[in-house]
């Protein structure tokens, strides 16, 4: 590191000490998790070990792991960022992400555990023709997981730029800020591939458990410090956040970001409000259709243990999302929206910036550096645990659903299938790395919301109808999955997210994925859920009635097994 970079870094508020400490803590986490992974690989012999951790986890362990799988960079960095920049509206995410667990608890977790083995498609194809249903389910699993992966990797890139404190025109270890971001994305991608290929579900689960403990501790510590700063008076904290935001009381009310009211433009107001409802629907209905969450239910021995896992997950996740209020409003009050937006226009760095500020408040500059380093390492741990879960879900589906059951029609050696899963993890990892490099300016919570929309539109209708509707059949399942998938992805493609949003008044960059001068959008909403979820259900139902297929025996077997667990593996 040159003297210039050190000076520049210090000028930007990031000391080289913080950098070194972050890197050391991060390496400690990586070393520990790689150790776990290697240990797990020795315990992994059968396909059940690789895909489902030998179904040997307890409800509590799995509850922690679900928390570790679910509380992503979107939750920690994204929600804190949206609250810090736009106030109350970020809380909508927290609420939707939590309430969604009731769908999983009441309708999905237990019957899924009883009737499936390794993947979401096991349940969907139970009483259907295997090949078409598994092909569709595998495709939608991969699409959802890749959207979600992008969000995490973009978060990692944003984080590293803050930690290394690299400004435009400077370099760190010979890298510019943009290069450093890309290097981080590649590094995260490489690590997740290692976790999954070496450790399988056992390794991934333990990484998630460790991460959940770290994240809860880190968030609790920051929440405590924030509240302490305001003498545990939440009203004072909110008041100061509102004042610092320059938006006054509106900062504490819904409407600054979602459902924005534009005076004199009724159409624009209506669209914005519909977008809010659309987002709300996608969040609450998406969780129970996320493949990487669903496969976690297979890691416990019984349906009852699956129920216990969800209860623990709801407890952890609920407490965590309540803490995001303190993190977001705390960042708004103590760091200030301007400083956050200057670092990352989407707000993804609000939480680590808050950590640095809190450390300074309580223990001077050195304290700031230490707390920043700790929280940054926690954020990296968070990202790594989630991407590992996503890679496992998508590679499991590619190997078990597509390779073993579609291509090989179920006639395949177990060892071979697991090898294919490992190769798939490489391929999916590589694809996500490349895509993430192109999606860097998007807010991570927003990207995750898109993944939720696809999950709610393509997966949830098929899962629910499969478990509860006697008449449901192959045509219905495939029509529902493809219909929901095409509707969700297609509407996003023709939405302002991809083109036509114009340029940001502050940075001058395009607000859409495409450059500002390209505009082919015709769908007005950012989130497709409001339209694509009903399309998913409609396609599934109409598709069912278009076919006479109906297997009474299989339905009896599925229903009896899903409710009693008799015959479950």
């Amino acid at each position: 590191m040159t003297v210039d970079t050190i000076l520049a870094a210090e000028a930007s508020g990031t000391s080289s000490g913080a950098r070194t400490l972050t890197i050391v803590l991060f390496l400690v986490f990586v070393a520990a998790t790689l150790g776990i992974t290697i240990w797990a690989s020795r315990q992994t012999r059968t396909a059940t070990d690789f895909y489902a951790g030998g179904r040997s986890f307890s409800g509590f362990q799995n509850g922690l792991a679900i928390g570790g799988d679910y509380m992503s960079a979107a939750s920690f960095l994204g929600i804190a960022g949206i609250i810090a920049l736009n106030g109350y509206d970020g809380f909508l995410y927290s609420i939707g992400f939590l309430v969604a667990w009731l769908v999983a608890l009441l309708l999905v977790a237990e019957p899924l555990r009883n009737s499936g083995r390794f993947t979401m498609a096991d349940v969907l194809s139970f009483r259907m023709r295997q090949r078409p249903v598994r092909t569709a389910a595998s495709l939608s699993t991969i699409v959802v997981s890749i959207f979600y992966l992008l969000a995490q990797m973009v978060g990692a890139g944003a984080l590293v730029a803050l930690l290394l404190g690299i400004k435009a025109g400077e370099t760190f270890l010979g890298m510019t800020a943009d290069t450093a971001k890309i290097v981080t994305i590649v590094l995260v991608g490489a690590l997740m591939i290692v976790y999954v290929t070496v450790g399988g579900m056992k390794g991934t689960t333990w990484v998630q458990i460790v991460k959940a403990a770290l994240l809860m501790t880190g968030a609790a510590l920051m929440t405590l410090l924030v509240l302490w700063k305001f003498n545990f008076n939440i009203s004072t904290m909110l008041g100061e956040a509102a004042e610092a935001s320059g938006k006054g009381q509106a900062f504490l009310e819904p409407g600054l970001r979602y459902g924005v009211e534009t005076a004199g433009d009724a159409t624009k107001t209506l669209i914005s409000k519909l977008d809010l409802i659309s987002l709300g629907l996608a969040l609450v209905l998406g969780t129970a259709g996320l493949p990487h969450i669903l496969i976690r239910f297979y890691t416990v021995p019984t349906a009852r243990a699956a129920r216990t896992s969800v209860n623990w997950a709801i407890t952890l996740i609920g407490i965590f999302y309540l803490m995001t209020l303190a993190l977001g409003f705390g960042a708004a009050a103590l760091v200030g929206g301007k400083a956050i937006a200057a670092q990352d226009a989407a707000g993804n760095t609000a939480a680590p910036q808050l950590a640095e500020e809190l450390g300074k408040e309580y223990a001077g500059n050195g304290g700031g550096a230490v707390l920043l380093a700790v929280i940054a390492a926690v954020a990296f741990a968070t990202i790594l645990a989630v991407v590992a879960g996503l890679t496992l879900a998508s590679s499991s589906s590619l190997a078990h659903d597509f390779y073993a059951n579609v291509i090989k029609r179920g006639q395949v050696d177990e060892r071979k299938e697991v090898n294919v899963a490992k190769i798939s993890a490489f391929v999916i990892g590589a694809i996500s790395i490349v895509l993430a490099i192109f999606a860097q300016q998007l807010n991570v919570a927003f990207l995750v919301a898109l993944a939720f929309a696809v999950a709610a539109s393509a997966n949830l209708p098929a899962i629910l109808l499969s478990l509860f509707w006697k008449r449901f059949n192959t045509t219905g399942a495939t029509a529902g999955i493809y219909g929901g998938l095409i509707a969700a992805v297609g509407l996003v493609f023709f939405s302002p997210v991809v083109s036509g949003k114009g340029v940001s008044p502050t940075t001058g960059k395009s607000l859409s994925l495409f450059p500002a001068d390209v505009d082919f959008h015709w769908f007005p909403l950012d989130n497709p859920g409001l339209v694509s979820i009903p399309i998913g259900f409609a396609c599934a139902i109409i598709g069912t009635y278009l076919s006479k297929e109906s297997d009474k025996d299989k339905w009896a077997e599925l229903e009896v097994r899903s409710l009693t667990g008799s015959g479950a593996v």
Partner: protein, 156 residues
Amino acid sequence: MSTDVQPTDADAPDERAARALAMQASPEFAELRRTIRRFIFPMTVAFLAWYLLYVLLSAYARDFMASKVVGNINVALVFGVLQFVSTFLIAWLYSRYASQRFDPLAEQIKAELDAEAAPAATTTTTTTTPAPTASETKAAKDAETTKPAASGEAAE
């Protein structure tokens, strides 16, 4: 365990399917189904309605949501936190209901099914069915008339 046992193979000779069909038609299974659905369906409707009310109020009742409760704490924040409270409460209620009302029934039916499956797994010829309940015997007979069960399918 092999890579994919395919318990779902459509052409599998199927004692299990026969048992499942018989069980599905039995009054005790109907009771099990009713027990769980009586709770989960109304509760799903309730929490989704309660959540959508919150989302709609956020979109369309800005003045109401903005009204102050105490200090800088407004209705929007309280409403949001109440969504957390209701989620915790419903999860607790469900778990209590399921373990008291649903699990014992499910366990009992599972035990019956497994007991029926066990002899079929070890012997390939006999038609011994250990002590089925009265309701089940009738259902099983019905099932057998429509679909003669092939033997030899091992239970998983």
